[in-house]
């Protein structure tokens, strides 16, 4: 089978990828072919987490996904987390807590934290550390990032319990 193009389902929209090379990573295709540069690339070997996207419900490194094998997968990037263009609760908590410095790791972290809180709305501090252990930040020392996640967690927990 020779593919002249393949289709990817990203943030609920079907995109056709044409004239691609077989080995292109999902990260490359998102940024360079689909105009979705929110996902960042740094290490290209699955160590830094800045390219984290959600694929079929799992947070994965898009640099390690061969894009042409991601057909039929449901892919969500940082651009797709908010439906109305407004920052999500997690993005707001990162701003409020000062969890953003240079900002390069931020999109990957935001995706990883959404993935965590969507599966586990009230993670312990250890679970938070575990969930973002695949996302490296060279600026913050992580303290304010953890604080941001705690704020987002507490806000969601409060909302769902009827408000206080």
């Amino acid at each position: 089978m020779s593919n002249e193009f393949y289709a990817l389902q990203v943030n609920g929209i079907r995109h056709e990828v044409r004239d691609a090379w077989v080995g292109e990573s999902l990260l490359y295709v998102l940024r360079e072919r689909l105009g979705l540069p929110g996902t960042k690339g740094a290490c290209e070997q699955g160590e830094c987490g800045s390219c984290t996207v959600i694929m079929d419900g799992e947070a994965v490194c898009s640099c390690l996904v061969m894009a042409a094998t991601a057909v039929e997968a449901d892919i969500t990037t940082v651009e797709g987390l908010s439906s109305d263009g407004e920052p999500t609760d997690v993005q707001r908590s990162f701003v409020n807590a000062g969890g953003v410095q240079c900002g390069f790791c931020t999109p990957g972290l935001i995706v990883a934290v959404h993935h965590l809180l969507d599966r586990n709305p009230s993670p312990s501090d250890l679970e938070i550390k575990e969930a973002i252990s695949g996302n490296i930040c060279r600026c913050t020392g992580y303290g304010r990032i953890f604080e941001a996640v705690r704020q987002a967690r507490d806000a969601r927990t409060t909302d769902t319990s009827g408000g206080e």
């Binding site: 089978m1 593919n3 077989v22 640099c63 061969m66 057909v71 252990s133 695949g134």
Partner: protein, 293 residues
Amino acid sequence: MSVINATNIEEALAALQADPQARLIQGGTDLMVEVNFNRTKVQSVVSLRRIAELRRWHLDEDGKTLRIGSGVPYAEMERPPLSIHSPALAEAARTVGSPQIRAAGSLGGNLGTCSPAGDGLPVLSALDAVVHLRSHDSARDVSVHDFMVGVKRTTRQAGELIVAVSVPLLPGFQGYAKVGTRNAMVISAASSCLVHDAVGGSVRLALGAVAPTVVRAHDTEAWLATQISLTGTPKVNETLAREFGQRAARECAPIDDHRSTADYRRHAISVLAQRLLLRAANHSMGAQKGEVA
């Protein structure tokens, strides 16, 4: 460009038969690093990601064997119920990369790549795992010891697909420990798996990242059997555990490379094996007192 996104095993095998040189890809955590850094140029690919059958595991009817599909991700091995059936595999899985890597990586990839530092491989060695291979017209089972033949070299033939791995369900302690340059998200500089078969009585010790393939420390295992039994209330003291570690270190053949030095690897193995034996002994004592750890 040619990419086959197989949806079942037969489709993948037919594609492999048509193009035996096609690269197989499951989670991509090994192959894509090679691709991203231009170390390999892929022409044709058979993707296994969408084959549900490779992502299943089950216990055989006799309840003695666990069969794990080659595409089951590490993330599933580290959690119950799978972690209960194979504690050492769960411990090894927890040390693999990051959550993102563990959501993608699998034993099929670990075996197919056959890196000396593959975290699942010492566990498979200690458990005397069987690798199940299929091609379009045949199927065969190979002992993991015969499957791994060198650095990134296996006895998998062109046209063959690793479909699953079987390991025995053993009562008794199982542990995995590794050392790297930091605690999280690190490739092993040295690793070790110790498995105690509390019924058969054997203690198995496998060492990773200290030779071209995983080393089974047969001499150390045989020596330990002359010293103590781990079943019951084993009398493992620090001196015995230290000698156990030192003997294990003498069975490896490590090298100096970008990750570590041969000397440090030997030292690390002696410490890891020693700690695992002490943990195993404590586990046996706890089991005697009814506190299953």
